[in-house]
Symmetry: C2
Subunit: 164 residues, 2 copies
């Protein structure tokens, strides 16, 4: 099972790929797709769309996991992120990969066991769960890996439930 986590933003879309042959993550890669503020909005949204489409072709994931939008206090930021998210999601359709959305609460719970964990705590657990010595950078990539881990966790739980 290969899961691609995605954390879309306008300036940078973080991504993280985990491979889960059995219970333990096998190999991990991460990075980000950047767009320039010098380009027009339409151009940047296209870059996000193409960036994710190329990434899916390259990494051939079985599933894509993405954080559901939370309603930020800053409306302007929320709208910009929403547009970037809207551009990223259709890119998954091209390759027929299924996309799964997780709320920030679900991600925190899946990764740390607690819904009220802080961002550094989540990042710390991402590194621990993936057997990494350091927290993956940039932040967008760590968030993307957290989304991927949440999907892996959900699959594991549903398999356990099937067995009972």
């Amino acid at each position: 099972m290969r899961i691609l986590g995605v954390d879309p933003g306008l300036a940078a879309m973080g991504w993280g790929l985990i491979e889960y042959p059995n219970g333990t993550p096998h190999s991990v890669r991460w990075g980000q797709v950047r767009t320039s503020p010098r380009d027009a909005m339409a151009q940047r949204l296209r870059q996000i769309y193409h960036g994710l489409r190329d990434l899916i072709r390259e990494t051939e994931p079985d599933a894509v996991a993405i954080e559901q939008l939370f309603f930020a206090t800053n409306v302007k930021t929320a709208i910009v992120v929403a547009q970037a998210r809207g551009a990223a999601i259709p890119a998954t359709a091209e390759s027929g990969v299924e996309i799964f959305e997780y709320t920030p609460l679900q991600i925190k719970k899946a990764v740390t066991g607690r819904g009220r964990a802080s961002k550094p705590q989540v990042q710390h657990m991402v590194a621990a769960l993936l057997g990494l010595r350091e927290i993956p950078r940039p932040d967008h990539a760590a968030d993307a890996l957290a989304a991927a881990l949440s999907h892996a966790h959900t699959l594991k739980v549903s398999r356990l439930l099937e067995k009972t």
Copy 2:
């Protein structure tokens, strides 16, 4: 010159095509692409993306005109519209058609001559400018035609400026 105007929303994406061989609109078509609230968000965003891509293939416009997002008082609505907009814009890239963004103010000015025109006034002028007996329905399609007319107007103005 064929201009496709687009008014993206999540439940319905309005579109309107105008043909401008010289100063007067020649032929006009409009409609909307609907998505169902029973489908998941990711599915609906994909439908918007594919809907616009198919529409561009079918109508072969020279340019796409879209209303720039205004910051609504209702954050939740704004975020939903922003996602739909983010999904629509990359669809224009596939066919290499250029996309032009117009603010609500620019659209009102281009269509009615006044930046503070009401929605019914804009719709009334859309019908008048296009030689239609009735206001195009649904509202999303009328808004899409207004965006297309704004682009036609901008082109006309820039041609006039070139001549001076």
